[in-house]
Amino acid sequence: MFQSASPFADYIDATFLTIVGISSLVLLGLLIAMVYFVIRYRRSKNPHPTNIEGNIPLEITWTVIPLVLFMGMFWMGWEGYRKISIIPEGAVPIKATARMWQWTFEYPNGVVMDTLYVPAYTPVKITIRSLDVNHSLYIPAFRIKKDAIPNKENLMWFKTSKIASYDVACAEYCGLRHSYMYTKVVSQDSTDFESWYKAASLKQSKVYQPILSKTQ
């Protein structure tokens, strides 16, 4: 159901599903207790209540256990974020520029494309900027997102684990055609990417659409 195509996508999904799992268990427990109490102690069966004002050991228990669980979740989230934020040396540098309502991608050789072509299995570093209002570069299949903010350069990196193409969206509201600010990221194996890159730099074409042989 959820497309996953980068090394941290699996880690993020695992973090997400861990929290979903723990939450579902706790929710189920609370729900069962709630429904059971409401039925078991309904006024027709239990006309006389017992006033229990509290219980300190219980209060401590249900403070400490959530605290431990929450700290675990926090740490998983933080570890995952470190994977997202630490950019490997030698990543292929690409500049992404956002404007209302289009993405463009500039390669080191000066070629500018409106689709993001990347070599597969290789770290890619994207420098994100905006020419007008706030946007956000969002690749759901890679589970990453970074805002494009005028006068600021933000960084993002990823490494694709498949040869395929994926949706790239704008995730920060930017006006009339915000929902149409979609493009694609296309990952090709290194030989295909190299030949495309050379051809692109030879032709110096602004919007060059290569024919992709091995993409799915």
Binding site: Y41, H48, I52, E53, E59, Y173
Partner: protein
């Protein structure tokens, strides 16, 4: 609650029939009686709620199919902006404090009115003025504002729509909120009846107290921030505008320094309503009174330090990310404590499954789901993926609507007999609860799945693979909306045709149930003296021991 009351003289007229120096509508809109002001708020607020809910249903209808279904993209953008502004500034923020806080809080602490009755009236007038300005701005030349309720710069500086009237509306509404907070803090400090110590106060009053402090301390920040956006639009000073050297992220920090605490302004009174209503229908004392009271203060305090978790993708330092994520997890602890104490309050109670309790049970489950998805959003790695998607939309509707909204519905049914002197019809109320609960969950739970699949929020159009879930959500919105209409129609009919309600139809023990329904002008003939805590149901237990 045991009270030493003096003998009654001739029965006083209720506050609807009390003599007033003004006539007709002026007896309402110029009244300084906290109960009349509460009713004024109730009607103005529910009107805004219905308008905003209708906008919401229309947006869902638009989302039924990809491409255009009923409205154009610009209209859609103004709809979600107005829906947000109205729901937040005109419904949920004033919501429980302005209506039920105004009407009930002075009675609950044994006072005749709030400390500053005229200031109270002024805050309603400011509320109305702000609300009308927001509505008028829609029809001014330039068109309704399309920035989203967050007014993010630079878009809010660049758009040609009527941003300034909308900013001014929010600015004025902020003052209304500050005045209400100021009034409540003062009233709770200065006007408690003899014997009403801090730890004998009803928990709804505690939650209002915590909320009021947040209102006083945080609201000025949004006021100045919105004013700066207006100044930027008028004069181009270069505070936020990047083309003049300003910083758009500064705006986001300032905005969320208020708007995250505002989330607690919205939810705390809802939590208070749960703590208030549960003991009455469980007919036993609340479990862990002090823990619930202190957790409100803890939420108000720690909640003021977590704002930047709305901004995890703007490009913050890793230190910032670490700290704000950590604090976000910390602030969920007091909420968890509340939930456990509520469930424990049902243990060995004598439970009557009346309509207010039904809404409260829905509240608890939905608030938990809202809280759990909040944990997912607080976890940095997950946040990066789901922030600014439907996941967030689902999350905050679960807390704000599934929580506070349902709390307001519960409060509406719980205090309806006290405010009107009439009892509502139970069957249609149960039907409406069922429809609202089912519709709500179908609508918003779907959004979690949509969000995790990568459906960004504030999208007029969407990719075809999302359609099935969008259709499900839209059907949910129809059930929800119909349920709300059934509820309001039932209450309106009951207002005319409902049976007379006694002073204490639910068997509550807090002070508002000791005065007639509806209460007389100055609430109490004789100021009550309080000798026990708020939820003393030992008399029901004593019978058992005698057997």
């Amino acid at each position: 609650m045991a009270i030493a009351a003096a003998a009654h003289g001739a029965p006083e007229p209720d506050f609807y029939h009390a003599p007033s120096k003004h006539k007709g509508i002026f007896a309402w809109i110029l009244s300084t009686d906290h109960k009349r002001i509460g009713i004024l708020y109730l009607f103005s607020l529910l009107t805004f709620f219905l308008i905003a809910a209708t906008l919401g249903v229309l947006m869902r209808l638009e989302m039924l199919t990809p491409g255009k279904t009923i409205i154009e993209p610009q209209t859609y953008n103004t709809f979600f902006t107005l829906h947000g502004i109205m729901m937040i500034f005109l419904f949920i923020i004033p919501g429980l404090p302005a209506v039920f806080g105004n009407f009930m809080m002075p009675i609950m602490i044994g006072a005749k009115d709030v400390f500053f009755p005229r200031l109270n009236l002024l805050s309603w007038w400011l509320f109305l003025a702000g609300g009308l300005l927001a509505l008028v701005s829609v029809f001014l030349p330039g068109g309704a504002t399309d920035t989203g309720w967050t007014f993010y710069v630079p878009y809010s500086i660049r758009t040609s729509t009527n941003v300034i009237p909308a900013l001014m509306a929010a600015f004025i509404l902020g003052f209304s909120s500050i005045l209400t907070g100021l009034n409540f803090v003062t009233t709770i400090h200065r006007m408690r009846a003899p014997g009403m110590t801090w730890f004998r106060m009803p928990l709804f009053v505690w939650s209002l107290y915590a909320t009021a402090w947040v209102q006083i301390l945080a609201t000025p920040i949004i006021g100045i921030t919105l004013l700066l956006v207006a100044i930027e639009r008028w004069f181009g000073v270069g505070i936020f505008d990047p083309s003049l050297g300003g910083d758009p992220i500064l705006y986001q920090h300032l905005f969320w320094i208020y708007s995250h605490p505002a989330v607690y302004i919205m939810i705390l009174p809802g939590l208070g309503v749960v703590s208030e209503i549960l003991p009455v229908f469980a007919r036993r004392t609340i479990f862990g009174y002090k823990f619930i009271a202190y957790s409100s203060l803890a939420i108000a305090f720690v909640g003021s330090l977590v704002w930047a978790h709305h901004m995890f993708t703007v490009g913050m330092s890793n230190t910032g990310m670490f700290v704000f994520s950590f604090l976000t997890f910390l602030v969920s602890i007091p909420s968890a404590i509340k939930v456990f104490n509520w469930i424990a309050t049902l243990y060995k109670g004598s439970i009557a499954l009346e309509v207010p309790l039904l809404f409260i049970l829905s509240f608890i489950v939905q608030f938990c789901i809202g809280g759990f998805t909040g944990l997912m959003l607080g976890a940095l790695a997950v946040n990066i993926h789901v922030t600014d998607t439907y996941f967030v939309v689902g999350h905050f509707h679960y807390v704000m609507f599934g929580g506070t909204g349902f709390g307001l519905f519960a409060a509406l049914h719980y205090w309806f007999p006290k405010m009107t002197g009439k009892m509502f019809k139970k069957k249609p109320a149960v039907v409406s609860w069922f429809m609202v609960t089912i519709g709500f969950n179908v609508l918003y739970f779907t959004m979690f799945i949509l969000g995790y699949q990568g459906m960004p929020r504030r999208y007029y159009d969407y990719l075809p693979q999302f359609q099935t879930l969008h259709v499900i959500a839209t059907v949910g919105s129809w059930i929800l909306y119909s349920g709300i209409l059934v509820m309001f129609v039932n209450l309106l009919i009951s207002l005319r045709k409902g049976e007379k309600a006694g002073a204490n139809p639910w068997g509550g023990e807090t002070l508002e149930w000791t005065v007639p329904s509806p209460p007389p002008l100055e609430n109490f003939d004789v100021v009550p003296t309080v000798t026990t805590g708020p939820y003393d149901y030992s008399k029901y237990e004593a019978v058992q021991e005698a057997k």
